[in-house]
């Protein structure tokens, strides 16, 4: 027998281990997408409850209450208010944490008011003994009118009990556990009389929250039950106080805490980690470690991948029948894909570190340490999260700016985040640094190349802060705001959570970039190996004529033919057309093509050059992309193309230029106007051009 799956919504405060519960229930059986029209992550998974029954589980964004203050939180309310939504849950599972039960229950009492069958999960039960906490489960179940699953996602206990409760969800009570309407009986009685068929708490949410509500005309309620903003706020405050009274009374009889055991370890650790000197030393130590790791130690798997792809290319050439199709594969596809696969180790490491910093709870301490300093530049301490996660990718980073309460601080953060060195710049930096910076070590262990990379990260960060300073000066916006940051308890990151996160993000990077690169490399290959003019088609004859009076080896002859062909191909014409604009920066037309195609996405740079150079050379031997670039010389002067001046100029250009269509799209979405992404594009790319120009002219 198979039946429709039971629809389950996981709801809870941030930092209660909701994602761990989700991972325990679904394993790798999950998919991440977006809610339609908005860029809030939607996580769904399937859980097998028994032989015949499955549950479809949605992990809703973390929220402190049903009083939403961000679009992530709106998602929760909109789903729970809309019975017609295909995801509307049969049963709500509210996840709480044993140490913060009092506060977590606030959300629980609100969900209960919606009269949806609700299960209460008390997570991190393994910490109870340590913290001297005792719970009287039967009493709590009676007072809260629910069933409780005491689980520990770390120790993997209690999950089966939760599955059992989900299976029998029809037996759950749907009665609210307190009557919030007593905060203003007259008002609520009138409301009840006007809309007898609607749930009172639902009406209240529609009045107070800025959410879409399908079944009811919002204006209809509004006009007859308008209250001033201040009055509504006061009622909301009263409601919160009322709920806490109920929770306090309930916990008085259902929870015992042995105060002697309840030492505040978190506070003790925090006195060191947020200390005015040690705090910063530790923070910068961690950053140093990450960068050494990224550049130095990830080179081992990267070299391996690089050579493997070079081997693939020559294998394909040797074993496939010669012809157009083989050329497409060996010169277009394989180098193009290799150009992106090589960066998987670095990108995975980067996501790993960021995921560990966030999971462990350390990120909030950095927010606390940096707030006052960041405010001097018009940013918030919370801007540090986008700025750090921007080192992975600017897109999720810009979305994470949502929890900055002040609009001006948030806007500035969104505008400057793309300056931070994202993982798409990493491939470009890595290959350029290895070409122009010698492989030396200072003090025997600090790699010079690693330090250069770190300097580039600092440059990006510095530029972000500097432009924030300018924006803060010239943007005239006044916003009243506040700043509330929760300091979650420290947790050793769970391998499964971090692992799934790294896997998902890396996969998204490779497939997302991979698609563009694949398409571009095919187009580039075609444009590079075909031409219109007679010159292109008669290359052999022309070169033979040029070499009439010289003796020349077959190999040198072939090379000359190929480079002549490339110059007269479609891509050659295009490159030559833009050359005047990029010549002063020290780039030849091939680099120019790579730079222009990078405006789709930066990481395309390496793949593009790889494709162009593969078409250009005809050697059967395996050569890596790096070797090809190092061997490239100027046809007239015989000088190396990738010399120090050109390298630095390119590094600066990539550090500052806005070359990411996806980022521009997300900025448009988050700021709701084309004005800001256009300003970003013009300012960043203009600035990049000027600095690259100055650098090349000074260094050449």
């Amino acid at each position: 027998m198979s039946s429709n799956p039971i629809k389950v919504a996981l709801i809870g405060n941030p930092n209660v281990g909701k994602t761990s519960v989700f991972n325990q229930l679904t394993g790798l059986n999950q998919q991440v997408g977006n809610y339609p029209g908005i860029t809030v992550e939607k996580k769904q998974g399937v859980c097998k409850l028994n032989e015949n029954t499955r549950a479809r589980i949605i992990d809703l964004p973390g929220t402190y209450s049903l009083n939403a203050s961000s679009i992530d939180e709106n998602v929760v309310i909109e789903l729970l208010l809309n019975k017609n939504d295909e995801d509307f849950p049969d049963v709500a599972v509210v996840v709480t944490e044993v140490e913060n039960l009092k506060r977590n229950l606030l959300l629980f009492t609100q969900i209960k008011d919606l009269e949806i069958p609700t299960i209460l999960v008390i997570n991190m039960a393994d910490r109870m003994a340590l913290k001297g906490i005792e719970l009287d489960i039967p009493v709590l179940e009676k007072e809260l009118k629910t069933k409780i699953a005491l689980i520990s996602s770390r120790k993997k206990t209690g999950i089966n009990q939760l599955k059992e409760l989900i299976l029998n969800y029809t037996e759950l009570s749907t009665e609210p556990c307190l009557h919030a309407s007593s905060i203003d009986p007259d008002y609520f009685n009138n409301l009840r009389r006007a809309f007898p068929n609607q749930l009172l708490y639902k009406l209240w949410l529609v009045i107070t929250q800025d959410v879409n509500f399908l079944n009811l005309e919002r204006n209809e309620i509004k006009s007859s039950f308008t209250k001033s903003h201040a009055d509504l706020k006061r009622l909301q405050q009263k409601e919160t106080i009322k709920r806490y009274q109920f929770i306090n009374d309930t916990l008085k009889i259902g929870q015992k805490i042995d105060v002697s055991k309840a030492t505040d370890i978190r506070a003790k650790i925090d006195r060191i980690l947020t200390h005015k000197i040690y705090g910063y030393v530790i923070f910068f130590g961690i950053l140093m470690l990450i960068f050494q790791f990224l550049f130095d130690w990830s080179s081992i798997p990267m070299d391996f991948i690089d050579e493997t792809f070079a081997n693939f290319s020559s294998l394909a050439k040797q074993h496939l029948p010669a012809g157009e199709f083989t050329n497409l594969i060996s010169e277009g596809l394989i180098p193009g894909i290799g150009g992106i696969v090589i960066f998987i180790p670095q990108i995975a490491f980067l996501f790993l570190f960021i995921s560990v910093l966030e999971e462990s709870g350390y990120m909030s301490r950095v927010v606390f340490l940096m707030d006052k300093i960041m405010r001097k530049f018009g940013l918030s301490g919370k801007s540090i999260v986008p700025l750090i996660s921007g080192t992975a990718c600017a897109i999720p980073a810009i979305m994470s700016a949502r929890n900055i309460e002040n609009w001006k601080e948030r806007l500035i953060t969104i505008l400057v985040t793309p300056f931070t060195t994202c993982s798409a710049r990493l491939p470009v930096y890595a290959i350029l640094i290895s070409l122009i910076i010698p492989e030396k070590r200072i003090f025997g262990f600090l790699s010079l190349q690693g330090l250069t990379l770190m300097a580039l990260y600092l440059l990006g960060f510095g530029m972000a802060v500097f432009s924030a300073f300018l924006l803060n000066k010239y943007l005239k916006l006044s916003c009243k705001s506040y700043f509330v940051v929760e300091m979650p308890s420290y947790k050793i990151p769970m391998f499964k959570n971090v692992g799934i996160n790294v896997l998902e993000k890396t996969k998204a990077f490779v497939t997302g970039a991979g698609k563009i690169i694949l398409a571009l490399s095919v187009i580039l290959w075609y444009l590079g190996s075909h031409g219109l003019s007679d010159d292109f088609n008669n290359a052999e004859a022309i070169i033979t004529q040029q070499n009439q009076n010289k003796t020349i080896t077959t190999e040198a002859f072939e090379d000359q033919v190929n480079s002549f062909k490339l110059e007269n191909s479609y891509i050659g014409y295009m490159g030559k057309a833009i050359e005047p604009a990029i010549r002063p920066l020290g780039y030849d037309w091939k680099i120019g093509i790579a730079v222009v195609s990078s405006f789709a996405a930066r990481e395309v740079f390496v793949g593009t050059l790889a494709t162009i150079y593969s078409v250009g050379s005809h050697s059967e031997e395996e050569t890596t992309i790096k070797n090809k670039m190092a061997a490239e010389v100027h046809p007239e002067t015989g000088e190396k193309i990738f010399n120090f001046a050109t390298g630095i100029s390119l590094l600066l250009f990539y550090a500052f230029a806005m070359q990411c269509i996806s980022t521009l799209a997300i900025v448009k979405k988050e700021t709701n106007s084309w004005k800001w992404p256009i300003i970003q594009l013009v300012f960043m790319s203009g600035f990049a051009y000027i600095t690259a120009l100055i650098a090349y002219q000074v260094l050449k």
Partner: protein, 75 residues
């Protein structure tokens, strides 16, 4: 004696006597920043702002102008 929570010293425990509801964000109330609950100053950030409190077992950092709107008595 009533003082502002911003005047507490590190490690001092106090009880909240009143909060200025016009200036305090709802989110902070929802974390348990309500009259009658206990409040402890855990850490002051370098440069004197923000302040890091334990309010009602919620560990939370707020800026000094918000902390001034919370009145407390020392225990």
């Amino acid at each position: 004696m009533e003082i502002c929570s911003s005047e507490l010293k590190i490690g001092e425990v106090a009880t909240i006597t009143s909060v200025n509801l016009d200036e305090i964000p709802l989110k902070l109330l929802e974390m348990g920043c309500l009259p009658g609950n206990s409040i402890t100053l855990i850490q002051i950030a370098p440069l004197g702002d923000p302040l890091y409190f334990n309010v009602n077992d919620s560990h939370v950092a707020i800026r000094i102008e918000t902390a001034r709107e919370i009145t407390v008595t020392k225990i």
